[in-house]
Amino acid sequence: MAKSAFMRWFHRFGSLPYFYGVSVPIARALAVPGVLLAAWGVYAGLVLAPADYQQGDAFRIIYIHVPSAWLSMFGYTSMAVAGVVALVWRLKLAEIYIVAAAPIGASFTFLALATGSIWGKPMWGTWWVWDARLTSELILLFLYLGVIALHNAIESPRTAARACALLSVVGVINVPIIHYSVEWWNTLHQGPTITRFDRPAMDLDMLWPLLSAALGFTLIFGWLTLWGMRVQLLWRERRSRWVGRMLENSR
């Protein structure tokens, strides 16, 4: 019985007008705590937390960098999960999720790379090293851009979204392979050895703001993606009756 109740919920949530209606309160529920948590995390990290004894104030960039890096991976993984749902159950919402999440995930990936290289300049003395983690993150950015470009190129929105779903599933299978191959390549090369500072177990004063910022940015990610989904949905369903009726009512 529980299963059938779940399936009923699943189908109701899959109904586009229903989703469009409930997306506003959900977005609000994500936005308010998200912005508060992120704001507190960033403020506490930039102002309240003590400076690092080795890196001084430069370490504070992690309050942007770590949430961005986390969201770059979370975003792609969630797109791949949505891709499987879209391909197996043909759920339109999952297709729309992929399309809406891709640019936001790509932005966070870019942010992670940019903040990383800004941090790397004073710490490592260079903007960029072909370190395994950096390289995989860069390739992840290309994977995101591939999904976005494919979506822009194909005219029919349905076909474009399904193609993006398949591409993100194929991509996510490759992400671990790419990561390990890059790591293997780097150890083979033995390039200029840059040892990461052995990070001492983080002080709680530093850790709490980080966790708060990470959670806050994740909620913001969900909020922005949801708004992107609403726009996609309106555009795709612009000729359907429920959108017309809704627009007339709101006039």
């Binding site: 591939g146 076909t159 398949l166 392979i177």
Partner: protein, 222 residues
């Protein structure tokens, strides 16, 4: 199932060898990229040997990108692909047959041509065997992974640049292990590890890619 595999393979190979000129173009492209590269440097032996793994593999990747665009397009344009989709035979098997034919016609030629080119770059002769083996194991994977990208962009008439954005990130492991095997053997180190990994990638590609290609073809022809 095997019957349809052989039938598609035979048909595609026949078509490929009736247009021998196209096959020669792939070879010429590969040779030209490798031959022009030293003109852009000061052509000192040590530099050329050092960059030769990257050069050979980049030339192979670019040639694969150009040739992959023809993998499904003729069948798409004359409607054969729709008949494949309508037939009761599993599409994944047909896709595997098409990629195999593609590789035999335009991938194998790189393996055959590579000894001449690497010797041209000054790579020691003892490395040639491993280099050929790395290309033999790596190029089919390029066709399998690239087939997914080609199938996804089938409905777009000019997908070349988009295709590179889709498949080059996925080619990273092959590039790393392929060029890694070459570097190892040139440096006198054992290259077996990289070759095994290339083989593992090929095994994964053969098992998983045909299904992804089939799904992509179905999406493109929806």
């Amino acid at each position: 199932m095997l019957g349809v595999f052989w039938a598609v393979l035979r048909r595609d190979l026949l078509l490929a060898f009736r247009q021998r000129g196209v096959l020669v173009h792939h070879l010429l492209f590969f040779v030209l990229v490798v031959a022009l590269f030293p003109l852009g440097t000061r052509a000192e032996g040590a530099i050329l040997v050092a960059v030769s793994p990257a050069l050979i593999w980049m030339a192979v990747l670019l040639a694969a990108l150009l040739s992959l665009q023809r993998l499904f397009r003729p069948d798409y344009e004359d409607g054969t692909l729709e008949q494949y989709l309508l037939s009761p035979e599993p599409l994944a098997v047909i896709a595997l047959a098409k990629v195999t034919a593609y590789w035999l016609a335009s991938g194998l030629i790189f393996v055959v041509a590579s000894p001449l080119l690497v010797l041209l770059l000054g790579v020691p002769a003892h490395a040639v065997g491993v280099i050929m083996l790395s290309l033999l194991l790596g190029t089919p994977t390029l066709g399998l992974v690239g087939g997914i990208g080609t199938a996804l962009t089938l409905s777009l008439p000019r997908a070349g640049l988009l295709l590179s954005l889709l498949i080059f990130p996925l080619y990273v492991p092959v590039l790393i292990f392929g060029a890694g095997a070459m570097q190892a053997v040139i440096a006198g180190l054992p290259a077996a590890g990289a070759l095994y990994l290339l083989g593992a990638l090929l095994a994964l590609g053969v098992t998983a890619a045909p299904w992804a290609i089939a799904a992509a073809l179905k999406i493109s022809l929806e």
